[in-house]
């Protein structure tokens, strides 16, 4: 098991964990930095300040309680639906590829793609927001036409590592794909 430090496309530090379970089974985990306390504090404080200013002028206490409610619900929604803690790619030769992402709240969403459906794993260039970035993608076969690609499944969608990290994952994936 090795752990390397890389950066994502915005220059933030992420870590890539490669775990080799056997010759044909590898697991890659890209972990994003933890939710920083400072940012939470900043957001909470700003919402509360705004609420207090509104309260100061309207003298309505409902504003304050709703502000507390909003921050709590917002934080809960954020860690449950938005903030992804780490993303895992498990590739098992001749069985398939499993992509899972776990949220900060512990919720996990997993997809397993069988090897018979996978055409290839590639590094692709994509236009993302106002950037052109590299991303690792799984190409799925079109069941009606074996030569064609029906869908492209992008990997590490939330952490978005840079090219050097992707190349590392790509090389090991290709090694496993070449075996079977």
């Amino acid at each position: 098991m090795t752990e390397d430090e890389f950066t994502d496309i915005n220059g933030k530090a992420i870590s890539l964990q490669c775990q080799s379970h056997s010759n044909f089974c590898r697991e890659f985990t890209v972990s994003a930095p933890k939710l920083s306390l400072r940012r939470i504090m900043v957001y909470t404080c700003s919402v509360w300040l705004v609420a207090y200013v509104v309260f100061f002028f309207t003298q309505n206490t409902a504003v304050l309680s709703s502000a507390i409610f909003i921050t709590l619900v917002g934080m809960m929604l954020h860690i449950h639906f938005v903030k992804i803690d780490h993303e895992t790619l498990l590739i098992v030769g001749s069985l398939g590829v499993q992509v899972s992402s776990s949220y900060a709240s512990g919720r996990e969403s997993t997809t397993f793609i069988e090897m018979s459906k996978i055409k290839d794993i590639v590094i692709n260039e994509a236009i993302y927001m106002q950037r052109v970035i590299y991303s690792l993608c799984i190409l799925l076969k079109d069941p009606s036409d074996p030569g064609a690609v029906s869908t492209v499944v992008p990997l590490f969608q939330s952490s978005k590592p840079r090219l050097n990290c992707l190349v590392k994952v790509y090389r090991s994936c290709q090694e496993i794909l070449a075996q079977c």
Binding site: V122, V132, L163
Partner: protein, 473 residues
Amino acid sequence: MGQRKRAAIRDSLANQIMDGITLGHQDSPKHNICMVSDFFYPNMGGVESHIYQLSQCLIERGHKVIIVTHAYGNRKGIRYLTNALKVYYLPLQVMYNQSTATTCFHSLPLLRCVFVRERITVVHAHSSFSAMAHDSLFHAKTMGLNTVFTDHSLFGFADVSSVLTNKLLTVSLCDTSHIICVSYTSKENTVLRAALDPEIVSVIPNAVDPTDFTPDPSQRDDSKITIVVISRLVYRKGIDLLGGIIPELCLKYPQLHFLIGGEGPKRIVLEEVREKYQLHDRVRLLGALEHKDVRNVLIQGHIFLNTSLTEAFCMAIVEGASCGLQVVSTRVGGIPEVLPKELITLCEPTVSSLCEGLEMVIARQRAGTVPPPATIHSRVRTLYTWRNVAERTEKVYDRVAKETVQPLHRRLHRLQAHCGPVAGCIFAFIAVLDFLFLLLLQWLVPDSVIDLAVDASGPHALWKRSGNRKHSV
């Protein structure tokens, strides 16, 4: 002076050495070139094929070339064409006639990302109709890159829209390093419109791939005479003239047939003519043609007719001549320079004059005094080749690469001095804003964070070395 020069150049323009460029024989450095235009495949036309062919020849000569255009429908993202020619289809909003909307700023983040990750040294923009080309020139200058602009079209001076476009062109070109025009008429036009120093304007004509357009007389039906017209069916191409010619000639010559390829808003004019005069069997409308089908249409005809009202350099007539057809064309813009006198019949852009010219050619065709197609082809073949165009463009790049890009204060000064007090000040202000926006972007996403792209073409090309390792979708 322009008249004199044109007269001197007319018959052998293609073999001339470009003016304004001194020939140097040192081993030229390789450039990273970015071609920018709104017009590229799958859109069809002269500019599109010019960019494609030029890029292919430059790649052959060892440069790295990428093309940037806007997304065409479902075709967006990054694609690779033949010989690892990389095309960025950027998701920018199309406003009118396949040209993107411009706000001067919104395209900067994407274009900057492309320029940085591809390590571009020369930005080459095409066509003055393309807002994206002007935007990219503007941003490239802000980023301190060398810029080249190719003008493919002619403009008037009189009407309001021309005045406005000309002003815009003046601003856009006033600190562009070098400008390329496709014919001398076009050069004159551009120099006048944009108030440029003629020294930095070169003429490099378009070319055709002669191997694609070989004659094949066996495909013709010699029992009748076929006139071929291949152009987009728009006002600029003089389709209304064509609509006047067809009934007049068809009445006189019962064995005359028309073969019309292309699509556009003026198609209805031709359809109406066809219905009104019952010419369904003699006027065939083929609709939009793919580039590979053009030759198959051309070789079926005897005469190639071009009715353009304005044209900087007409590639269609060269293609027609290359297929061994007699060419009849209007005498407008740069057309007189394109082909030597004996290969073309020039007329005024009126119905009567065009009919006269056509009748003359038909008479010659009947008498059998026209040269055989193979002779015409062999003459045209050497006139315009893409290799030649690429060589000459390369020299422009070499020259541009030696120049230094003007820093911001010099640029502002020049804008104010060159473009008039009002427009100059406005655009100087926009240039400053653009620069500030660039600084903001550089702070948000530093250059070091942008991944350098893997070269697909050029001296460090990955594809040549390791085969087809990378995939594109």
